[in-house]
Symmetry: C3
Subunit: 247 residues, 3 copies
């Protein structure tokens, strides 16, 4: 059983965070929240989305799992304007999702959850540094790195209390750096890892420019990037595996 009513943009923003990484996913319709965990085909980038029942106008679920084509679901939800309400209801018999909004009723065929890549376990990591910054700052650093390379180094200079987004191209380099003053918060620690820009660019697409983004970073370790959605009643966590640094 699943029946819920939610603001169109709340749902859209949440789905965006997943669709930048995968085309299909399982959605867990838990009693207390709706949640999605997914990993890209290369097993490099993961996303963990939770949308609390409180993020919905109304929410009833009993723990089922459905499989969806995200592009189609986003198309359907996208027919609503930002603040319009969208009603979702699972038809258990036909295994279809009914999507209703003012004047429009649509039916989306679901995908057998067993045919979808297994949900990843997002490991607990003891990452020594934590950087809190605005989505717009992360965006600027990623754009700068993208001018010269296809990978990027995220690094905390613990002495200078600064966060660096650096890229080395074949001939050109960029170093985007934010001091403690520029950041919302910084917990310095040993933190220096290299990542694929393609994945970071995809994740960055979904991160709102005005979001408060927390980056947890270690030494040649995966990075965790999280931010709140649905005005704090939901959360997105990305995890991205590092690239091996060769000298």
């Amino acid at each position: 059983m699943f029946k819920a009513i939610v603001g169109a943009s709340t749902l859209q923003d949440a789905l965006d965070s997943v669709s930048v990484l995968v085309d299909e996913c399982k959605i867990r319709l838990n009693e207390e929240d709706l949640s999605i965990r997914a990993v890209d085909p290369a097993n490099v980038g993961m996303v963990d989305l939770t949308l609390d029942a409180a993020a919905f106008e109304s929410y009833e679920a009993d723990g089922g799992v459905i499989g969806v084509n995200l592009a189609k679901l986003e198309d359907f939800v996208g027919m609503a304007s930002g603040d319009q309400l969208v009603e979702l209801e699972l038809d258990e018999e036909t295994r279809k999702l009914n999507i209703r909004m003012d004047g429009l009723s649509s039916t989306l065929a679901l995908i057998d959850p067993d045919s979808i890549r297994q949900e990843p376990d997002i490991p607990d990591l003891d990452l020594s540094a934590e950087i809190v910054l605005e989505g717009a700052q992360l965006d600027r650093g990623i754009k700068a790195a993208d001018m010269v390379s296809d990978h990027v180094r995220l690094r905390v200079d613990a002495d200078a209390e600064a966060f660096h987004i650096e890229a080395e191209g074949d001939t050109d380099d960029v170093d985007f750096h934010l001091d403690a003053d520029d950041l919302i918060a910084l917990t310095p620690g040993a933190a220096d890892s290299l990542f694929s820009l393609d994945y970071l660019k995809d994740m960055n697409k979904a991160i709102p420019k005005d979001a408060e983004v927390t980056i947890e970073l270690g030494e040649e370790f995966p990075v965790k990037i999280h931010y709140a959605v649905a005005e704090g009643q939901g959360n997105v966590t990305y995890m991205l595996a590092p690239r091996i640094q060769s000298d």
Copy 2:
């Protein structure tokens, strides 16, 4: 003889209604109005445009017929800004159309009208239902249908006094429905026909979002869609042949 002065956007909007269906057309320069009738190469969609003499700042014509390349004519007229006046004058000798606006004189070679597909007869049809709605509503229904299929069912539910734009895809369905309250007017009747979305999408491109659009609909019959242009001093009628419904 043909010489006329008209607001650029009035002319552009009128020409748009035809150019979504055909590349070339005959323009009839009647004494009382300028008119165009055209049918697409597959004989599925027709358009009938009339622009009254009153829609022009000045208008003189004596019943001639010219053939034009619509994209070129629209390019030329498009050099004027919205409220700028455009002067059109037929040079009978060279068979060219002189197009003048502030600072710019251009000459458009005409096409031999005999080389252009014959103008269709738009039949009088006794269609039992009539729906009057806003262009923006039709647009929304067509966009919704386009998510799941390449054809669309237009249907009046006479009992519920509602108009439906429905589409059935291989796996997904949409039903966009407008009650009597949502519509500007509704004359219920037996009305249920299937149409190609490609044609409706083309016609929809030309229909202003704020236009009052009248749809005449029957049972497996062509649909007629009409709306006013030039602030009521002109009229566009589309007719679209139905697709045969297979069970």
Copy 3:
């Protein structure tokens, strides 16, 4: 030695004027100004850009020459917003250009100036007519000509004191004309030459719509087009070779 600080949009506008013609260029870091001269590979269009030391917040140079990839340099400068300051510093040892702005330090590898096409000599020409008009007017004339042809005739009608931008297509013609009243200034003279539209369109892309543009024109002679940049503390001159008019 070269070290300078300049507003991002001042530098960007200046570089744009060159990058519409060539991919790489030499930049002369003179004591009193920064200057670029370049010619396109076909030797048809030339540009001569001067940016006075006064156009910079601070400027120190001693006459060196560097070679740059313009697209890369513009990408780097483009990371700054319009009124943000950009600091440029030449690292003589590594032959790299350090580009710094708020939060972002980047390093651009330079190109050996000897590997770049030789700078053209922009000849002094005694062109008999001079037309001064707004960038937006030139833009409109070029857009009109582009509808019908790939070359354009620039012509002064000395008797009527008017400037014409004319194009003859295979079947259609346009004549964009500006009277003395429409122009900022006109020095009539024998002036009638044919040019490639592709080059004029490229130059037009860089010319601000609100710039006061001076066109010097002769009879089957190159045209010179110049306008001020950096609020008058810089200057761009284009020279474009004529096409031979065949009858």
